[in-house]
Symmetry: none
Subunit: 192 residues, 4 copies
Amino acid sequence: VSAATPPASRPARARVLDAALRLFYAEGVHVVGVDRIIAEAGVAKQTFYNHFPGKDDLVREYLTEQSAWQRAAVAALPPASPRETLTAIFTIMCDFGAASGYRGCAFINAAAEFPDPAHPVRVAIDEHRRWLRGLYRELLAADGHPDAERTADMLLLVRDGLAVCLDLDHPATVRAAALELLARVLGPASTQ
Amino acid sequence: VSAATPPASRPARARVLDAALRLFYAEGVHVVGVDRIIAEAGVAKQTFYNHFPGKDDLVREYLTEQSAWQRAAVAALPPASPRETLTAIFTIMCDFGAASGYRGCAFINAAAEFPDPAHPVRVAIDEHRRWLRGLYRELLAADGHPDAERTADMLLLVRDGLAVCLDLDHPATVRAAALELLARVLGPASTQ
Amino acid sequence: VSAATPPASRPARARVLDAALRLFYAEGVHVVGVDRIIAEAGVAKQTFYNHFPGKDDLVREYLTEQSAWQRAAVAALPPASPRETLTAIFTIMCDFGAASGYRGCAFINAAAEFPDPAHPVRVAIDEHRRWLRGLYRELLAADGHPDAERTADMLLLVRDGLAVCLDLDHPATVRAAALELLARVLGPASTQ
Amino acid sequence: VSAATPPASRPARARVLDAALRLFYAEGVHVVGVDRIIAEAGVAKQTFYNHFPGKDDLVREYLTEQSAWQRAAVAALPPASPRETLTAIFTIMCDFGAASGYRGCAFINAAAEFPDPAHPVRVAIDEHRRWLRGLYRELLAADGHPDAERTADMLLLVRDGLAVCLDLDHPATVRAAALELLARVLGPASTQ
DNA sequence: ACTAGCGGGACGACCCGTTTGT
DNA sequence: ACAAACGGGTCGTCCCGCTAGT
């Protein structure tokens, strides 16, 4: 009844994107063929190619979708101090990493499969990382951190390491290490 | 110079591994076919399958080779204090990451392409990471660090983040962030 | 101007035929898909299948349309002696062959793509050729040629060679050869 | 036992070319898929791509093969006067055109399916036609014809028309027209 | 009656990892 | 050690039916 987003053709395209998101994240991009995506989406092959020029474009949209989802999740965080927000972000990452089905960071994984830095997929990855770093920097600055720029770099590095370790090591152990590391990066709380 | 038939077909196998290492690391595992590997190695297809049961085994050996190479590199480090050795390890990582041809960590990239945790490739990855963490822990303990276990976890996390960021961001910026982070992890030098 | 619903769905069908004519002639029949035709015609897929049972029928109509166009062009020739009319027909062919966009004879090209002599497309081709030969024969007879039947066969052969050569060789050279050939076929003008 | 041509790998490649020649000529280029060719050749798919970079290259080789065959056939003609040789060439064309399986000129048919004049296939067609015209010109010159150049153009045009008409009309009728036309092009025999 | 889009199944060219003959 | 064979899989396009929505 309600036409929240585009009035027409919502389901088919969305189903393709859903299936792509699920399969690409869970198994990787190159091993998942178009045929499997359209099969899981319950979509004809031609309708897929009506919505996406090719597989690469679908991959790019898969990443932008992921990025949009993360931005929305951050925007939906309960209001809190910048420092608490930062801690919440990393804590939530740990929660995700402990849940079943976690497979690391979609962007890092995609970068592993697309070596060419000029490839559109890599461009989408860069854009997401610029947003991430900007988010950290703003929160640090709002927290009154003396060197938000460089500390944002450090947080990005911690985030990447966290995303990787949560996938490859014991999530509980990684959680402890990450939160401790975060504390050392942020320094003692500003006694305001 | 050499006899008609060398005692063991060493060079053929080694050439295959060399080509695999180069191609797998530079372009990824799934996109590189065995035909290209044997072509670059200058080896017949049958000789390849004489030395390796299949492609997956080659991938596993590619990772163990990488691991052996890193262990040898660490063993060849000039004698120094544990703390200096740790710093050297991370500094060398930054050097590699700034060099052209850097494509991130071979193990992290491989994990992105092999989701199944029970796969032999993932087992090889786990083994390398266990060695890495053990190395950190021993060096920390030798340095007299009070909590070598947990600090080793943190170092592993920093290492992973470093390997990823060096590939995706500006190496110089990442280097500064990583070394600063390392300093905060190791704490003030033990005034011995 | 026109009523709400024109008595017959003329425009849609005509647009499809126009697009088909343009694309089929310029690029060939098999390489041009139905989707491209309906896209260029600005017509829905269903509308296409409402007017044509299938692609093959469209091809047949494309040829009958071509044939009708040529018949109309001949009928519209300025009044002249039969011999002048014949010369005009071949001269106009040379003009077309020198123009950009010339791609040979639509019927010869279609025959190259439809080998089965019983195929409706081939039937349409045969019909056009029968008309052509009849036209030549009548003009020759009207000119008082002693052997109109066999000379018409020769003219048809020259026509086909002309249509092919204009596409594959230099039009200017071909024109000279064709007109010279035509003169030899027609023989000296009847000194009436 | 005997290694007449290349010592190795003769059969596979030759079988592919044989099948391609048969199918392409009989049915057209675009309608015949690679799969059918390799099936009729009894060859593995990869073997095909080991010998030919792609289908287009096979098409080009199909035409060069055809051209080579025609050149050999002309070279194998019994010694005769130039004029007799010319007549023999056109007579043999008529014989071929009357035989079952005749499908017109392979080059004209191929040109109908490859509109782009810069395409390698068109280049091969041009080359064959240059040879053809050169052959006519030399024979005419050897016969003492006063204008071999322009007459060669006319012969090429007649040849093309003949090849087309033999496919589309009654071969017997076409034969008579073609030989009569040839006589008019060559003029009265030089009473030497 | 025309548009827009989806579903379906076959086929297009091309490449995969692997095994076999020679 | 080479080429060929094998079976299946890759992405992408084919022609055609059908169902809504104005």
